[in-house]
């Protein structure tokens, strides 16, 4: 403990010194130095300045640019703020997208940003894989052809298996300079890509292997210096912080307030809390914060919190291949015994709202998708009497105040969570305590780290585990968390198949078809259909899936996350308001959108 405290204190001192040093030595202009953290990664000073490297010193919105930045819309995944792409058009059948680049976009070395840069970036994206850049032309939503129309216009054609996510995936493409990264693609890359996409047999296999074989080379590539099309360019990076200076060639330079940006490193949430309490950060993205720490942060001069929609939901997921969780009455009973309000209060008082019900969707998106249908869902309010009735219906018996399995054996509920997720650990403990109050022996079992947790979960080792759902805004993405690979449905090459529980990552083990509204439906098939269904049909499907989820309870929805952004207005103002569509983007993007100005004395 002492060591931790000392390290945190030392880190603060080092950082404070670095801040002071940067302010004086680097001679930031009147715009000053904006201080923040990157919520998606920690700083690795030895990592290359390369956006394809997961720990590379490229920070989205600052010196890392995408074609466009996604808006935080609860239902529509295809709404974006312009970035390198000034505008775009899509054919009604979503088969073709034409992207028009910013006419004044330039790299930090003064060269213009052209269609060639976009094409090279797409080529590099193919080496890394991904939905829009799958090498199998049968994969849904894959780009099949890239054509340069003119230096500022690119046309991209979708493959035969269409996905409503094509535009969204395409616009999320990271753009890098062709004159720096172009050499990573062999001269015959595009011919090889055609063979990989349109041929079959050994030649196609060789072509695919050749392209995916470039992945490591692309990730390891280390440009000598940063060449950025964003508002900032990397000046230097050390283990404590990265310092970025203004890119004078940024296409919308006049709206950028700060002269420099300092991205501080952190090793855990506690360090971010300390940064916030000491007033060092002008902005910090969502960080899990205990109530007492939040109170301390609020007391800091200029400190404020912006909150808004976050399409993430925490749930308790069942392995229906394991008894007694194959019985819907048991799942319902557990839902009736969990006081979600209390669980949220304990686990995520600042970053979550108790789930109104279980629909598989964040309540805000659910209301938008379902309208009045949302209120018709069973809310599963705390009700021990109903829980007891459900358990009796499942054949469970109560002996000596404890519930036992139908065969008389003791019922031991084990809830699994990764040890590093302290909010989940607290929530799981609260749930086990609540179940204990109602005669169910329950315990929390932690797994050392998240990767191992996911691996053991996929192997079907757990009866019940915590699971993130509702990852919108794309309706397919929302429901594939429940009726996707984890539950046996695999969508590949436009074909959907269902695998048996306990195989190929099917750990939820739900039935392939269920009764809903008087008919049997295949929830996995419906989820797959969300990829290419019309908006009206999507709404209909979501209504059915919400109803199925509410009745069958493959998961119990616990709390909906709230995106909580920390800001300090002592040095800068003009942050986005609550519920802004830009809230989940970095403050670098906010600057690009004309927000964040230096506070006037």
């Amino acid at each position: 403990m002492k060591r931790l405290a000392t390290m945190a204190a030392l880190a603060s001192i080092v950082t404070a010194s670095a801040c002071g040093g940067a302010g004086q030595v680097d001679g930031a202009g009147p715009g000053g130095i904006f201080t923040t953290i990157d919520g998606s990664k920690q700083i690795n000073a030895s990592a290359p300045i390369n956006p394809f490297n997961p720990v590379g010193s490229v920070f989205a919105g600052y010196n890392g640019m995408e074609l466009a930045w996604p808006k935080n819309d609860p239902t529509d995944p295809n709404v974006f703020y312009p970035a390198i792409a000034r505008s775009w058009t899509e054919t009604p059948d979503q088969s073709q997208v034409v992207i028009h680049l910013q006419p004044n976009a330039r790299w930090s070395d003064g060269r213009p940003v052209t269609s060639e840069d976009v094409k090279v970036s797409i080529g590099l994206a193919y080496t890394q894989g991904g939905t829009a850049y799958a090498l199998d032309p049968a994969a849904a939503g894959a780009a099949a052809d890239v054509r340069i129309v003119d230096p500022a216009t690119v046309e991209i054609t979708q493959g035969a298996n269409k996905s409503s996510m094509f535009l969204s995936n395409l616009l999320s493409t990271v753009v890098v300079p062709a004159h720096v990264y172009g050499r990573l693609l062999p001269g015959n890359f595009w011919q090889t890509l055609k063979v990989a996409q349109y041929s079959s047999g050994p030649a196609a296999d060789r072509a695919r292997a050749s392209i995916t074989g470039l992945a490591d080379k692309v990730i390891a590539f280390a440009p000598k210096q940063d060449v950025s099309a964003g508002p900032f360019v990397l000046e230097r990076v050390n283990p404590g912080a990265a310092l970025l200076k203004r890119n004078p060639y940024f296409y919308n330079n006049k709206v950028i307030g700060p002269d420099k940006v300092k991205v501080l490193n952190y090793t855990g949430n506690e360090q971010i809390w300390n940064y916030l309490i000491s007033g060092q950060l002008d902005n910090a993205p969502f960080t899990s914060v205990p109530a007492a720490v939040m109170d301390r942060i609020r007391q800091v001069s200029g400190s404020g919190v912006i909150s808004g929609y976050s399409p993430v939901v925490t749930s308790l997921a069942f392995n229906q291949a394991h008894k007694p969780y194959d019985n819907v009455h048991v799942r319902r009973a557990l839902a009736y015994l969990i006081d979600r309000r209390q669980v949220t209060r304990i686990a995520s008082p600042e970053g979550g709202t108790p789930a109104v019900t279980t629909s598989g969707i964040h309540a805000r998106a659910a209301k938008a998708w379902l309208g009045g249908g949302f209120d018709a869902l069973n809310p599963y309010r705390l009700d021990p009497a109903k829980a007891a009735a459900e358990l009796k219906a499942a054949g469970m018996t109560r002996r000596g105040g404890r519930w036992a399995l139908p065969d008389g054996k003791p019922w031991k509920v084990e809830i699994h969570v990764p040890a590093s997720f302290s909010d989940w650990v607290s929530a799981a403990k609260s749930i086990t305590s609540q179940l204990g109050d109602h005669g169910i022996d329950a315990s929390v079992v932690t797994t050392a780290d998240y990767t191992l947790y996911l691996s053991e979960l996929a192997q079907g080792k757990y009866d019940i585990g915590f699971w993130l759902i509702g990852l919108g805004p794309s309706p397919y993405n929302i429901y594939q968390r429940i009726y996707g690979q984890a539950n046996g449905w695999q969508l590949f090459g436009g074909r959907l198949k269902h695998v048996a529980p306990g195989t190929e990552g099917n750990w939820m083990g739900g039935p392939q078809t269920v009764q809903a509204g008087g008919a049997r439906v295949d929830p996995g098939q419906l989820t797959g259909d969300l990829n290419f269904a019309s908006p009206a049909r999507q709404k209909q499907i979501i209504g059915t899936l919400a109803e199925v989820t509410n009745q069958q309870l493959p998961v119990v929805q616990l709390w909906d996350y709230v995106n909580t952004q920390f800001v300090n207005t002592s040095r800068y103002t003009g942050f986005p308001p609550n519920d802004s569509e830009a809230l989940r983007l970095s403050s670098g993007v906010w600057m690009q959108l004309g927000m964040i100005r230096k506070r006037q004395a």
């Binding site: 506690e270 007492a292 209060r345 079992v445 932690t446 050392a448």
Partner: protein, 302 residues
């Protein structure tokens, strides 16, 4: 006559020796109040381990409206994240910690002593082989190995935890016991025993072992503290299974979930298990101090 009387004489003298020994112990303990305090502390923890869980219901009561409540008469160390009395958590959590400590100490000392005695007494090839094994044991990086083991082994029982910690920790004891054995085996009383043709078992069990008993006993107590630190540390790192009343888990949750190093709200939740560890260590160290005097003639004469 001789046959019937001698055992009685021997038995009487052993009883007298025992009585004198315990009188000596009592005298040594009384000489410094801190030693009495040490015995008191360890006895308190032993009672907590044995009877602590019986003082509370199986599901500890919670106050939903008193999350991270400050210390009060009702909750001397406040409450945790779900309103459970922190003192109750410390008391009920003592059993796992102590059982692990005892299991570790027993395995460490049993293995270390057996291997050290055998190697030192036999010397030659056995000594070489066993000491290489000991070197291997000493070279094992304990913490990284435990971190890896925790991914495949859940350590749900304190005995499992103690077994692993014991198997990792016997090397030092084996080395020290071997050194002592090598020294003692050249002493006159061992040579006399050998000259009398007494069996090896007798020489090792009755002659060598009692001479090293104080040293072994002190090692055993110190092994308990080492085991407490090791397992609490592993629980703190979050690599071992969750038990709300485990002291290491309490420390973990106080820091990472309650922000105890950032705000005072969760500080009692952090300090209570720390205080328990500190007290337990202190008690053991004070007893070791007393044992040192009991078994060390030079200190006794001072």
């Amino acid at each position: 006559m001789t046959v019937t009387v001698l055992p009685e004489v021997a038995g009487t003298s052993r009883a007298t020796l025992r009585r004198n020994f315990w009188r000596g112990v009592w005298r040594v303990l009384r000489r410094k109040p801190s030693r009495m305090a040490g015995v008191g502390i360890v006895a308190l923890f032993a009672l907590m381990g044995a009877f602590g869980p019986l003082l509370y219901p199986a599901n500890l009561p919670r106050d939903d409206n008193a999350l991270y409540a400050p210390p009060s008469l009702a909750h001397p160390f406040g409450t945790d994240f779900e309103g459970t009395d922190v003192l109750a958590l410390v008391v009920t959590g003592a059993r796992y910690v102590l059982l692990t400590g005892l299991a570790t100490a027993f395995i460490t000392v049993a293995l270390g002593t057996a291997i050290g005695l055998f190697a030192g007494f036999r010397r030659g090839r056995w000594d070489t082989a066993l000491m290489r094994l000991t070197d291997l044991n000493l070279a094992i990086p304990g913490l990284p190995l435990l971190l890896v083991l925790s991914t495949v082994w859940k350590f749900t029982s304190p005995l499992e935890m103690g077994l692993v910690l014991g198997l990792l920790g016997w090397g030092g004891v084996a080395r020290a016991v071997r050194s002592q054995t090598l020294s003692l085996r050249e002493r006159g009383f061992i040579e006399a025993a050998r000259g009398l043709g007494l069996p090896t078992r007798h020489i090792v069990g009755r002659e060598l072992l009692p001479s090293m008993a104080p040293y072994i006993a002190m090692n055993m107590l110190i092994a308990v503290t080492g085991a407490v630190y090791a397992q609490v540390g592993l629980f703190f790192l979050g690599v071992l299974p969750f038990e709300a009343n485990n002291w290491g888990v309490m420390l973990n949750l106080a820091v990472f979930s309650g922000g105890a190093l950032t705000t005072p709200a969760a500080l009692p939740y952090l300090l209570a298990p720390l205080l328990a560890i500190l007290l337990l260590t202190l008690g053991i160290v004070l007893i070791v101090d007393a044992m040192d005097e009991i078994f060390n003639p030079r200190l006794r004469e001072e």
